[in-house]
Symmetry: C4
């Protein structure tokens, strides 16, 4: 299988996930300011997930750009990642509708954590396939972002039960860390 097709499929899935998420935002029944207020946590979780999915789309693209040949391993590692990303609208809706209650906020973090792990597995699978001189390995380098994110997610999951604001702050922090596209890979492609 060519890389192009896996890329196209992944892009389509991420584009759909990022877009259908809006359907989890239920249209309010009232038409006054009171009706809008409970939408605030919904809107906040929507925005957060939108940014996360955009980051995944972007970094995923950069990573796949270094793949030449797609075998069964990479294919299924990629589908595994898409699986966790496909759950984002569900947990986003659950967390938003319940105004960031502890358990939904923790489950939201759990899905993000699993997506991060899936991303890491995909990265590892590609590096292994590329062999000792893996250009992806060189590009990724020490990968501090990839290492620190799961720790922050795990902390957020636990701290959701202390105060959800801490978890929320951690989710925003991870998004900020990643919002800068991975310049290491970018610069390597540039060469």
């Amino acid at each position: 299988m060519g890389r192009t097709r896996m890329e196209a499929f992944s892009d389509a899935v991420i584009a759909i996930v990022i877009t259908i998420m809006v359907l989890e935002m239920k249209v309010p029944h009232g038409t006054d300011m009171e009706a809008l207020r409970p939408l605030l946590p919904v809107f906040l979780s929507y925005t957060l997930s939108f940014i996360y999915l955009a980051i995944y789309w972007n970094n995923h693209h950069h990573m796949l750009h270094m793949v030449d040949r797609v075998g069964g391993g990479i294919l299924w590692a990629n589908i595994h990642l898409l699986f966790w990303l496909s759950l984002v609208p569900f947990v986003t809706g659950w967390m938003g509708e319940n105004h960031w209650a502890p358990l939904p906020t923790a489950v939201y973090g759990f899905v993000l954590l699993m997506a991060a792990i899936a991303y890491f597995i995909l990265q590892l699978t590609i590096i292994r396939q590329q062999g000792p001189d893996s250009p992806l390995k060189k590009a990724v380098g020490n990968d501090w972002k990839g290492n620190v994110s799961p720790i922050l997610y795990a902390s957020a999951i636990a701290l959701s039960f202390v105060h959800v604001a801490i978890a929320g702050a951690l989710y925003i922090l991870v998004a900020l860390i990643w919002i800068v596209p991975d310049r290491r890979i970018e610069s390597r492609i540039g060469r």
Copy 2:
């Protein structure tokens, strides 16, 4: 990142937004003419949003056609635009279901305003990247459409609370202004 991929992703998102909007039109329970009447404002807002999204798809394409290299700035300015467009089904449904009540009508205008601003920011980001001889800048020219639209949106938001028909008329007016594809850019591409 190549322009092609950002184009493909944007096209996919806009195609999905324009299409899932129909899911916000709830199937009526009755089967007589009485059941159809409350659908009229829903249908009107659906049609309006459909046209708006088609205009965005079209002009967005013309604009991206002049981009050579996609950096982080353009990438995120583009995602920012897609974010506001992704909210169109939500506000369309809210405005339609509530028969163009003042607040939903104003919020509809707010999302259109934010999308217009996001479009403007994207345009500016591209022009800046292209430098002093920016072909997009020359093509856009004085950009009276881009300048007048936010003013009309802002007016519509305020006037929603006077009479929603005025706001509705303004939304239709902006759509009519834009429905003609941007011939300036088109002619420039032609050369």
Copy 3:
């Protein structure tokens, strides 16, 4: 604008419309045979619309294949067609859920009629742009299918109020007429 991009956008919209239609089929609450029975008319209308959209996708492709240059006229004629196709899930759901009641069945036919007219307008716009030696005009020939379909739709709309079975039969008849891909255009492309 190149033909390719309008094709890609149209394909995406039709693919989404044909797929989200399933979301209008509400999951039944019961788990016995009784729960399945009311699904029969829903399933029938779903199948019918699926076939219609597949026909549109196919013929639309054949037609666009003969377009070289996309101007504003063709662009908006195409969006007009997509608009009516985008309403198919809505009327399919309404007709199915109400077990083919007269009014929903007639409205279903109305949307099909408008889509057929939109298709005809698109065809005419392309032929006009191609000028006197229009290859599409030669390929389409006398276009008996295009002429007879609107008449059958209009009859079905009226006859929905006599007996919905007649309307249903006419909808199936039109689908059968079109299910054979347009060999005239196909053979012309082959040359």
Copy 4:
């Protein structure tokens, strides 16, 4: 019609089906562990269907890769397959929400069975069109997977009414059989 376009349309439909399936997972109202428990069967059926659709996407691609010319036969055989795949979100939701009750579990198997038959018909149509030296025929070989799957599905349908766990085990078994990409075709493409 070129193979590329049918491939693109099929990919889009499968990507949408696999992604909108999440919308059938209704966001729970509660926010405690009790609210999560009834989601387990929903999540299980979601995961199973996700894997099935990924398998179809993958094998479908491998098969289409051997097609040169797409005639009406292949076109409609392909749409027939997409039709059954499009029903997967519906039966997944029905089975999951009703905690794998016998009838929904059997109907789930029925849709899988019909998809398998549709896949087989598509394969046969391609082989027939390719003639006596069909490369697909050689690649498929004795096709034990294709032969054993319908038998397992049919057994699962019947055994749903004995115990749904048996049906569930059979569905998982078929998924495991197919999860390995079809190496026969792959190796043949490699040559």
